[in-house]
Amino acid sequence: MITVENVRYVYPNGNEVLHGVNLHLDDGDFVAIMGENGAGKTTLVKTFNGLLKPTDGRVLIDDVETRRSSVAALARSVGLVFQNPDHQLFCETVGDEVAYSLRNFGYPLDVIERRVRGILETLDLMPYIDSSPFMLSGGERKRVALASVLVWNPKHIVLDEPTIGQDYQQKDRLRNFIVQLNTQRKTVVVVTHDVEFVAECRPRVVLLSRGKIIADGKAEEILSDSTLTERASLLRPQISLLFSSVTGLPHDVIDVFSAKAVINNAIGGRK
């Protein structure tokens, strides 16, 4: 459970980024936090594991206030994957990088080995186990950063822009993996600009603009709303644009497969 109560955050240079944010996430929620550049999305998720402590208000992780705990303790239950993988990676091989946290937590060697292999296979990284993370492409480094957090099995997972540099297949894998995490009652929070990814996953969407939550609801409602998306500097998904421009079609369709079903239904037996 993640609870954000009246959080205001002011950076040391006086820049106030969050102006009173309230948010409640239950275990097993899948939430996309979206909004324009500089809206405060990354600042908000950095308060979840205590990297940033609110200037006013409070953040509770499973009823523990982040101010009363340490980042080291909070990180065990809140895994945060940074936007820029180079802020996170430092080991000599992918295998070491991914094993690092488990070694620190003192897991037995055979468990570490098994878990590292499992997560590398899931994220299509096994061929690189002995490579240096810095020899890999941007998209692959992003997946190594993801693997190095997911491997310790945190209860709440926060991914900052996970689809950057990922091709369609990798995004599909990521989507399936998130669904799998969700069925294990894990909270998954994704910070993203990728409207097409969100249109396919259809999570709950929290729209942040200029440090305030301006909408919180179903993906198909928010992403098909031209006023809201414009305020948050998003584009509507292509399918939503297509459906709203052709008369007689429902306005809340945002993904390819629902669109296909609606069209097939409309033309009936006239193929």
Binding site: N13, G35, E36, N37, G38, T42, Q83, N84, D86, S131, M135, L136, S137, G138, G139, E140, R143, E161, I164, G165, Q166, D167, Y168, Q169, Q170, K171, H193, D194, V195, E196, A199, E230, A232, S233, L234, L235, P237, Q238, I239, L241, L242, S245, V246, G248, D255, V256, A259, K260, I263, N264, A266, I267, R270, K271
Partner: protein, 280 residues
């Protein structure tokens, strides 16, 4: 002669187990707008690095074949000479910005081209405006957000007005409307100044409207090369590139037996086709 002429190019990074590029042949004419895409790790960034000589002059390894850009053999010219002709916007803006203010970072290129003080000033102001970061000019690049850094990195290359502009996922940290706006600036320079553009991009829904040609790399080879409509066929989907959603929708409808005229590659084309299908 083509402004970019690549023949039988193969490259392996020093210490890597296999080649990153294998036998690439690619010609790009002056003024073309080419989008390069393909699965992650397929060699897109390596190809960009070849175009201004960072590969093999900085990132060493084994290179065979020929590459000439603006008539210069990248192996015989130092990057300092190539950079007068080819501007490269890196994937990670932090690898590119180094000055204490954004303004100084943008001025660095024009100053090194030996432009006058007045002209440098003019270029800096123009680049700040084109990328929408006039208010950031006195800020330190390292304290900016990822999206702001990307705008600054792009401005610093734009200010040199290179003949060939190579952009490696230049808007990945930007929100969709800002990405569209920035790609619009690049497309405008392509049209008005005839600047040749090579753009690496996964989000083909954003990139397709400006480009006349899509090159798909897969495992270090050119798998597909042609106008968007030809490339976004079945094969592109098999390789795993994210064809625009409207294109995917009409491919799927066609598979279901719906009669489709031509497969749309933009939302506007899709609207037309969908109206026709529903009216039939």
């Amino acid at each position: 002669m083509a402004i970019i002429d690549i023949r039988n190019l193969s490259f392996s990074y020093a210490g890597a187990t296999g080649p990153s590029l294998s036998n690439i042949n690619l010609e790009v004419e002056k003024g073309e707008f080419v989008v390069v895409t393909g699965p992650s790790g397929c060699g897109k960034t390596t190809l960009c690095r070849c175009l201004n000589g960072l590969v093999p002059n900085f990132y060493t390894g084994e290179l065979t074949g020929e590459i000439s850009v603006c008539g210069l053999d990248i192996r015989r010219q130092p990057t300092s000479v190539l950079s007068r002709h080819v501007g490269l916007v890196f994937q990670n803006p932090e690898n590119q910005l180094f000055s204490l203010t954004v303004e100084r970072d943008i001025a660095f290129g024009p100053e090194n081209l030996g432009l006058t003080r007045e002209e440098t000033k003019e270029r800096v102001e123009w680049a700040l405006k084109a990328t929408g970061i006039e208010d950031l000019k006195d800020r330190a690049p390292y304290e900016l957000s990822g999206g702001q850094q990307q705008r600054a990195a792009l401005a610093s290359v734009l200010a040199m007005k290179p003949e060939v502009m190579v952009l490696d996922e230049p808007t990945s940290f930007l929100d969709p409307r800002s990405s569209l706006e920035i790609l619009g600036v690049v497309a405008k320079l392509n049209k008005e100044l005839g600047m040749t553009v090579v753009l690496v991009e996964h989000r083909l829904d954003l990139a397709t409207r400006h480009s006349d040609r899509i090159v798909v790399l897969d495992k270090g080879v050119v798998a597909l090369d042609g106008p968007p409509r030809n490339v976004y066929g079945k094969q592109a989907h098999l390789i795993g590139i994210g064809v625009p959603k409207v294109t995917l929708l009409f491919h799927l409808l066609k598979q279901d037996g719906v009669k489709i005229g031509k497969i749309p590659v933009t939302v506007e084309e899709a609207e037309e086709e969908l109206r026709r299908i529903l009216a039939d």
